[in-house]
Amino acid sequence: MEKGLGIRYVYFLIFGIVAFSFIVKLFLLQVTENAYKQYADIYAIRRVVKYPARGNILDRKGNLLVSNEYAYDLLMIPSEAKPIDTLELCALIDMDIKEFEKLTSQVWIKIKEKKLSKSLPVPIAKDLGKDYFSSLQEKMYKYPGYFLEKKALRKYPQPIAAHILGYVGEADTSVIRKNPYYKSGDYIGLSGIEKSYEEVLRGIKGVKKVFVDVHNNEKGRFMDGLYDTASVQGANLTTTLDMKLQVYGELLMHNKKGAIVAIEPQTGELLAMVSAPSYDPNQMVGRNKRKYYPELLFDKNKPLYNRAIMDGYPPGSTFKVMEALVGQQEKVLFPNTIHPCGGGFRISAAHRVGCHSHPNADLRYSIQTSCNAYYCAVFNDIVKKYKTAKEGYDVWRNYCLKFGFGQNFEGSDIPNIKKGNVPSSDFYDKQYGKGGWRGLTVISLGIGQGELQANALQIANLACIVANRGYYITPHVGKKVNDVDLLADGQFVRYETGIDDPFFDVVIEGMYGAVNLPGGTALIGKMNNIVICGKTGTAQNPHGKDHSVFMAYAPRENPKIAIGLLVENAGFGATWAAPIASLMIELYLTDTITRPALEQHILQGNLMDSK
């Protein structure tokens, strides 16, 4: 029994040693160890979204078209916000104090109505640039509950290609509802390449969870970063655009309204897309956007409007090229077919489609001189070939669609291409009653006028078809995502027009003549060292001076560039459109300009206010 009493002390010793070592360890942890002290005044866990920078956009030669620049949003977490020196903060962020107070009181009203969560950050000021950041950063400790969130904004080293590059903006509620990836305040590509390559360019958002103390300082990472995810920058997109050509195109179109589209025929690659007037894409970024966007939106010249892919103008005489090909394919037109001109085409005793005076033409010469009467006859012959006008018209219309007219090039990565208009036979049935119309009724279609509407992209595509002798590839602007070649990857499809190869000979001959031979309508565009094939056009404009239209490709053998352009209110196609196209071709193929006088003439032209 006595020994038994003693043994309890062995137990006391064991228990005591354990308790003592606990106390020593606690002393080490809580009193001497400093590693954990930083967590002593932890106040909250903040979820910081790490926005990836969007991918860069490059031109076909690797020149940077779009890159990024960092900016900061000032956010407030209502539940953590303390009364602060609002006057000072507003001065720092360049904000009206009344606006600030209105904003915060609205936030509190929404919280009361349970429309907002107290613990979720609310943006106070957005897109603060580097200058704001440096002065704000030192003062942030004074504003508990407020913090800065870094993000990347778009930056355009050259103020070009605004329309085709497009712009980014905050995702609106309809997008957020449809796609859970986007949260309120997130950026999304809203137009142009930014829109069509949104998923490639946007990258992957990351999240960082951090501890913060009452003084708004970060105090280390929550769970040692276990729940953090890295943000991944968006992929770089190499476009098919040629920066130098794009810059030059915009320069030539300065003080003019209209559009230029240049395409590499064999590949369908967009080399340049100019819509004038344009704007500096940097104006649509961050804080600038708030200032400039309304200005641009209400500008009477509609600079935000991409004229290259809009619903368009009548294609005018450029359409005759297609007409000549279809006529041959339908066996109603042959190279030696002669239609009398005599200054116009008689529809009836009272009506006549006018033409300028020139000798009677064969097919080649009709293109070179752009004879209206000739093509009215061709159109009429095509329609007449079939039993009813409707049937014949539908055959003709089907060719138009195959040539890309009345189409928006589905599968193209150029967003928002408008179809233009090639009226259906039903339209004319309604207009004139069933069977109440003939080829002659709608004869103006034959020379690219009437209800026809086309845009510069479709006209450039027509030039591609001739250059390729019968096919085109969906016009597109994306070349490579990272290192994956999109065309080789099968993203863009080849379309056949159904016109046989031999029929192109005489048409090409005619287009050659239009630029290079006496009597040609576009002699002004002639060059000595490069053979350009082209076709002028004039789009009738009931509101004022006609629009100048031109399409061309070069060189004649093994073509490298096809171009379609439209200059508003510029009159006859040869005066403005043809020289611009010629200069563009020269720059692209030779990298130099040998005709400074012509260039100067174009640059000085101001067609902005002419009507």
Partner: protein
Amino acid sequence: MIGRKQQIIGNIDWWLFLAYLFLIFFGWINIYSASYSEEHASIFDMSVEQGKQFIWICICLGMGVFLLLFDAKLYHVMSFIIYGAVLLSLILVLLFGQTVAGNKSWFVITSSIKLQPSEFAKFATALILGRIMSDPKFSFSPGLSRANRFQIGGLSFNISKNGMWAILFVIIPAALILLEDDTGTTLVFLSFFLAFFRFGLNWLFLIIGLLSVIIFFSAILIPIYYVLISLAILGVIAFLFTKHLIGGWKIWLLMMVFFTGFALSVKPIYDNVLKEHHRTRIMVLLGKEKDMKGSGWNVNNSKMAIGSGGIAGKGFLNGSLTKLKYVPKQHTDFIFSTVGEEWGFIGSTGLVLVYLAFIMRMIWVAERQRSMFSKVYGYCVACIFFFHFFMNIGTAIGLAPAVGIPLPLVSYGGSSLMGFTLMLFVFLKFDSQDMHILR
């Protein structure tokens, strides 16, 4: 004649009772703090842990008073029946039980009332050990008279048939609980061995046990040759200086063979028998690896919360890491992290000291029992409390491997609170009856 009620109250060990009240109350307010959220701000909110724990506390206090009314002899008589019933329930729970938090050890009565029979297995085992070890003929060492039983450090290595029975009564429920995948509670059954030394189990076993643990870890960490060489040197020294203590060269040789064999088998067992998460836990404990996703992560966060408490703590309901639910299982297995953060070094040391006093008092009270039955029972209960105390707080501060067992009376959990209340109040009853007879 004093009334029966007064007898009970008068003879209760008030120190143990007050410590019990302190621990459950302190536990409750820390559970409140650990589960606190603005939606459930009331300490009596029955939909969350603090409210449920309050109900359990009321039930347990009522049960405690009720237990004091029974005659202590009842437990002596009933011990086999209780043990049998618990074994049956352990088997049934294996067949029909449900898995909660990885352990198939729960009877689900309603969605909010779940019972864990393993919590009651400790009580039943302590009772049955009291029963068989109070037999006058019981001894761990064969051939020794009862009078010699309390000798420290018996020389013989053999274990009596009785002793084997006692060990078997521990191993059976432990094995069943291991089948439930509840490693933590299984390990708790080791605490009975700690109690056995009081009743004549050779201390050499403890030394062998400790040495085995050291060899185990060394064999994992350093090349086996070093272990064997160290073992040989140690063996020679032991042979030269303690030959007379360990009872001749035969036993020495036997021990050398055992340890060599053990050392050689550690690595293959570690690599092939243990599962990946066991290996990770061992490595984390040894500081070789930072397992930031499993147990090491819990321990790291717990240490961080405790360390951030500083000397005086952040104050009740002000533990920011606790409020942010930063430490997993912070109202059960890691309740100590809440204590450490909110009450600081002063509070957590205070809790350790109160606990130490509580367990020492149990040993003290056990030792004063004249009935062998209640003495054995008391030691068993004290050792169970100690084991939980050691493993739970040890885990929270990174001194013991994370096995996942609650801190008795403090952690959240109805079964656990009930099991420990049962154990303690039965012991209080034994003591009060003993004291009454003494008077």
